[in-house]
């Protein structure tokens, strides 16, 4: 059982993906049943594993690929953190996507790649070795491309092309780093950190840089973020998944794995590479916020906000102090919940009211109260207002920065808070205070669109309000850090 479970989890997304491709366009109920069924099964399996891993169990599956090359799937606490997020949000996004697309064209293709994308993310989370990590990382790159290009109009196609132009060299850098490292140390397993003393510090720094470039493209670290705002051309469910779970999170998760499981926090500090990365993450946080401030389109503003917020995770990992790491890990979850809420709402505004620009939000609050309340919760959470999710991550990151002897982090966090307030509060003001345009339309008679947004918005409130309970994301992140990277 313990060997089958990781594979089973992977299959819950991989099988629906494989089957969906061959379904006819109009077999809606079969396709929807398959996708939702997979998602529910996965949630059940994960719920069971959360329980047993908290009790100290671990699961491992070894699949030989070629002589000397094995794929290792392993469930540890960190992997579970990421797959519980992706499974929960996948389930909600599937419901949302089914309602969003209705009976539009090319749905089998869409849902096939959608499930494949989630399967890749799951595999990435479960990877126990560098080589399995790389395989799923590539699978993710390739399965995301058709999703971004889904509309097949000019902006979508060029956005998808831009995505590949950034992603493929990134993958090359990652592969280069893996080969360089493994040629010296042998295959790297995350449970068993490699002996780095065989390499020169200079070479190690270069390898670290290559690793960060490789995963940094996906994590949208400035200046490698150019593809992310362009990818806004994709349909709303894709943006939601891209920004909250799949691609940018895979990059951030990669940074965490590389720092803590490949190099080890102590080595990162000894090599002096943590501080440059933290500075880069801080620059990204500020730059993303500054750019978000200038956007007139809702989704573009949210995209630049993602650029900024995902680097909180990178910052937490780079500071290499336990508290900062808790802050970074918990932001992996918190940012996902808040951002997916915002994107769900942006999609509802677009679908139900035809509103894409910020000026169009005027007076929508009373007309679409549920959506707007969810949007407000998400935005206030991003600003970092207690008791919402964003506050908890920010508080831990700040404490971690002080702990790691980097008090300038406080300045970055405060600047980011103020900038977030500057680009989110005017939206809320428009929603609730300004009068609507005379020809404004819009309603929210679409429970399958609004429902997922309400759930994630409540989760944004819940994970902050109950942060100290052991079953909260914060409790889980603390468990990871104390158990695996121990004080």
């Amino acid at each position: 059982m313990s060997a089958a479970l990781p594979v089973l989890i992977l299959l819950t997304s991989l099988v629906p993906a494989g089957v969906t491709f061959f379904l006819a366009q109009d077999s809606h109920s079969l396709r929807n049943g398959l996708n939702l069924g997979g998602a529910i099964l996965k949630l059940g399996l994960i719920g069971w594993m959360l329980f047993s891993v908290a009790g100290g169990a671990s699961y491992e599956a070894i699949l030989p690929l070629a002589p000397g090359l094995v794929m290792l799937l392993r469930v540890d606490a960190l992997a579970l953190l990421f797959i519980s997020l992706s499974a929960t949000l996948w389930f909600l996004t599937t419901i949302y996507a089914i309602a969003y697309f209705g009976t539009k064209a090319e749905l089998s293709r869409f849902f096939g790649f959608f499930s494949l994308c989630v399967a890749a993310t799951t595999g990435l989370a479960l990877s126990g070795s560098l080589i399995s990590f790389f395989i799923f990382f590539e699978l993710l790159t390739l399965s995301t491309w058709p999703l971004v290009a889904h509309k097949q109009d000019k902006p979508s196609l060029s956005a998808a092309r831009l995505y590949l132009v950034y992603a493929l060299p990134g993958s090359a850098a990652l592969l280069w780093a893996i080969i360089w490292l493994e040629s010296a140390t042998g295959p790297v397993l995350f449970t068993d950190p490699p002996d780095l003393s065989v390499l020169e510090p200079g070479a190690l720094r270069a390898i670290f840089a290559l690793f960060i470039i490789g995963v940094g493209v996906k994590a949208a670290i400035v200046p490698l973020h150019g593809w992310l705002p362009a990818a806004m051309a994709a349909p709303a469910p894709v943006s939601a998944l891209l920004h909250a779970v799949a691609v940018v999170k895979a990059g951030a998760f990669g940074v965490v794995r590389i720092i803590y499981d490949v190099f080890g926090a102590a080595n990162v500090v000894a090599l002096g590479v943590g501080v440059p990365l933290a500075v880069l993450a801080s620059a990204t946080i500020i730059w993303g916020s500054l750019r978000a401030l200038q956007q007139d389109e809702i989704k573009k503003r949210l995209a630049f906000s993602t650029v900024s917020q995902v680097s909180y995770i990178v910052l937490g990992a780079a500071l290499a102090s336990p508290l900062a790491m808790i802050g970074g890990l918990v932001h992996l979850i918190h940012q996902g919940l808040m951002k997916i809420t915002l994107f769900f709402c942006a999609g509802i505004y677009d679908e139900r009211a035809g509103v894409r620009t910020i000026a169009g939000l005027n007076g929508l609050g009373p007309r679409m109260p549920w959506t707007s309340a969810c949007f407000s919760l998400g935005a206030l959470g991003m600003i970092g207002l207690p008791p919402l999710a964003g506050f908890v991550s920010k508080f831990y990151l700040g404490l971690g920065g002080l702990d790691a002897g980097a008090p300038w982090v406080l300045g970055v966090l405060v600047a980011s808070t103020l900038l977030n307030a500057a680009y989110f509060l005017p939206l809320l003001y428009r929603l609730w205070f300004l009068p609507a345009a005379e020809d404004a339309t819009g309603d929210e008679r679409a429970p399958a669109l609004v429902g997922p947004a309400v759930v994630t918005a409540l989760a944004t409130l819940g994970v902050g309000l109950l942060a100290a309970s052991p079953i909260s994301p914060l409790g889980w992140a603390t468990l990871i850090v104390t158990r695996e990277y121990g004080p």
Partner: protein, 548 residues
């Protein structure tokens, strides 16, 4: 059961705040406002017992009353209840009233929370609630004036929150614990301690109206509806005060800083109040002045700050309500009655012998150094002056139409608070100060209270005959605005070549933003992507090679 009391006090208004979310209940939602603070009043009357630790909530919530908590909680609950009645009687029902009801309750919960929080995260949450949700009280009228005041208010409130967060994080990191007492103990010796304390001083100073961070007070108070100004001036500013008491280590030099800033505020704000025409703006300056005195007491380590704050909260709220009561008075007799109440409150705040305010002043002078006692006595004179000016302005305040039938109810609310302000200090005197009940009746004490007030009244009589200069509320802000207007004039007069020397800061920010846009568009065409990747690889490699 007792242990749950503080929790219930906070949850009750939050639950009531949800009432207007139900459309059917919305038309009468305003009537829940007087009910929201009742559990807090009960807790205060019981002496604020109970302490509770809720380990799962937030980052672990400790609730217990702060030192002097019963006094703060009682005052806050009474002010909010009386203002709630006033709001329910005067504000028109509708969607605006629904929003006000919800955020009124949230602000109230935050205001009570700062007196009950035992850990820094709960404190920060309560402070954020009282600070940010109060914005809805300021902008309630939605007029241009109210929205402009709201903008200033929210800007300063958010800056204050940010400063507070820095200070609390520095303290919590040094203490490695979140309880207020540990953070307070760890702050002075923390690595960035002085910086953290300065940040806290700014955060609390904005709320408490410490000069020169008081700018929002005289702008926001007149813009808010009468009950809103009453709670802002009576109760909400005390959140900043309790923050100072809880976190600023006054034994070090920080105490002297508070004393100096407080004294400057006490005298300067009272005098500047004379340039105001709107009675609510005059009262706002009087609040800045009284908060200055309170900050002085905090800085000097007086043990009767809560006693003074109790009287000031009740009396100031009563005076603000009187502004609304005068406006609703239909007959000359009603008008006269209201003015009498306001006049008695003005004398009480000035420290007229045997009034509640006199008792508060007497108690707070205990244990102070002689120069400070003298300063306190002299401040009675300026207080009489500014409140006398307030009475003159109030007497000219015109009645507005509407609401007249509800005058008796409005009057009862103001009179109730006024009676409490006069009597509660007598009632609590022996218990709080430990002094004899006859102490305020001593001849020396009566004289010390009497002469500054009399001198002040003479000055008011003189002033009445003279034309006072008139400035818009917001002193420094108004001066800055005038300076800017001058500069623009100068700029227009200057020859073309030198015109650029006062480019507005707005334009400079715009230029920076434009540049970042141009820079960012560089990332979009994709031949640049490969180039970028190479450059970043090289730059990153070099940057991490360099240290060795």
């Amino acid at each position: 059961m007792n242990a749950l009391l503080p929790f219930a006090v906070l949850i009750w208004p939050l639950l009531l705040g949800l009432v207007p979310a139900v459309p059917r209940w919305r038309p009468h939602a305003l009537w829940i406002l007087p009910l929201a603070p009742l559990p807090a009043l009960g807790l205060a009357l019981a002496g604020a017992p109970g302490a509770i630790f809720l380990p799962d909530l937030l980052l672990g919530v400790h609730l217990a009353a702060v030192p002097g908590g019963a006094l703060y909680l009682g005052m806050t609950a009474l002010v909010w209840a009386a203002a709630g009645v006033h709001a329910a009687l005067t504000l028109p029902p509708g969607p605006k009233a629904g929003a006000l009801t919800g955020f009124w309750c949230l602000t109230l919960a935050g205001n009570l929370g700062v007196f009950l929080a035992g850990d820094v995260v709960t404190f920060y949450l309560a402070f954020a609630a009282v600070s940010l949700a109060a914005w809805f009280l300021v902008v309630h009228e939605r007029t241009k004036k109210a929205l402009a005041a709201g903008k200033l208010y929210i800007t300063l409130a958010i800056l204050g929150e940010a400063a507070l967060l820095i200070g609390l994080m520095i303290g919590a990191a040094a203490a490695e614990d979140l309880r207020v007492s540990s953070v307070r103990a760890a702050l002075p010796d923390a690595p960035l301690g002085p910086f953290g304390i300065a940040a806290l001083l700014v955060g609390f100073g904005i709320k408490a109206g410490m000069i020169p961070l008081h700018l929002w007070l005289p702008v926001a108070h007149p813009a808010a509806p009468v009950p809103g100004s009453a709670v802002l001036s009576g109760a909400i500013v005390k959140a900043g005060l309790i923050g100072m008491i809880l976190f600023i280590p006054v034994a070090s030099g920080w105490g002297s800083l508070l004393v100096v800033a407080g004294l400057i505020g006490a005298f300067a704000a009272a005098l500047w109040g004379l340039t105001q025409q709107d009675p609510k703006a005059v009262l706002a300056y009087s609040t800045v002045s009284q908060m200055g005195l309170l900050l002085t007491l905090v800085g000097a380590g007086s043990s009767h700050v809560a006693f003074y704050a109790l009287h000031h909260g009740l009396a100031k709220a009563a005076m603000f309500l009187c502004v609304g009561v005068v406006a609703a008075a239909a007959t000359p007799r009603a008008r006269l009655l209201t003015l009498t109440i306001a006049g008695i409150m003005a004398l009480s705040v000035s420290g007229f012998p045997l009034s509640g305010g006199a008792l508060a002043k007497l108690a707070s002078k205990e244990g102070l150094s002689d120069p400070l006692v003298l300063a306190l006595t002299l401040s009675s004179m300026t207080t009489t002056l500014v409140l006398g000016w307030f009475m003159l302005r109030l007497a000219r305040h015109h009645a507005t139409r509407g609401h007249r039938p509800v005058w008796p109810g409005l009057f009862a609310g103001a009179a109730f608070l006024a009676a409490l302000a006069l009597l509660v200090p007598w009632f609590l005197w022996e218990r709080v100060t430990g002094l004899q009940g006859t102490y305020p009746l001593g001849q020396a004490n009566i004289l010390a209270g009497l002469w500054p007030v009399m001198l002040g009244l003479v000055a008011v009589a003189v002033l009445r005959a003279r034309a006072m200069p008139s400035y818009p509320p917001g002193d420094l802000l108004a001066l800055l605005e005038m300076l800017r207007a001058r500069l623009i004039l100068v700029q227009k007069a200057a020859p073309q070549s030198r015109r650029n020397f006062t480019i507005g800061h707005r334009r400079r920010i715009l230029r920076i933003l434009l540049r970042s846009r141009r820079a960012d568009s560089f990332f979009q065409p994709w031949p640049h992507a490969g180039f970028l990747l190479t450059v970043v690889t090289l730059a990153f490699a070099i940057s991490i090679w360099l240290p060795n």
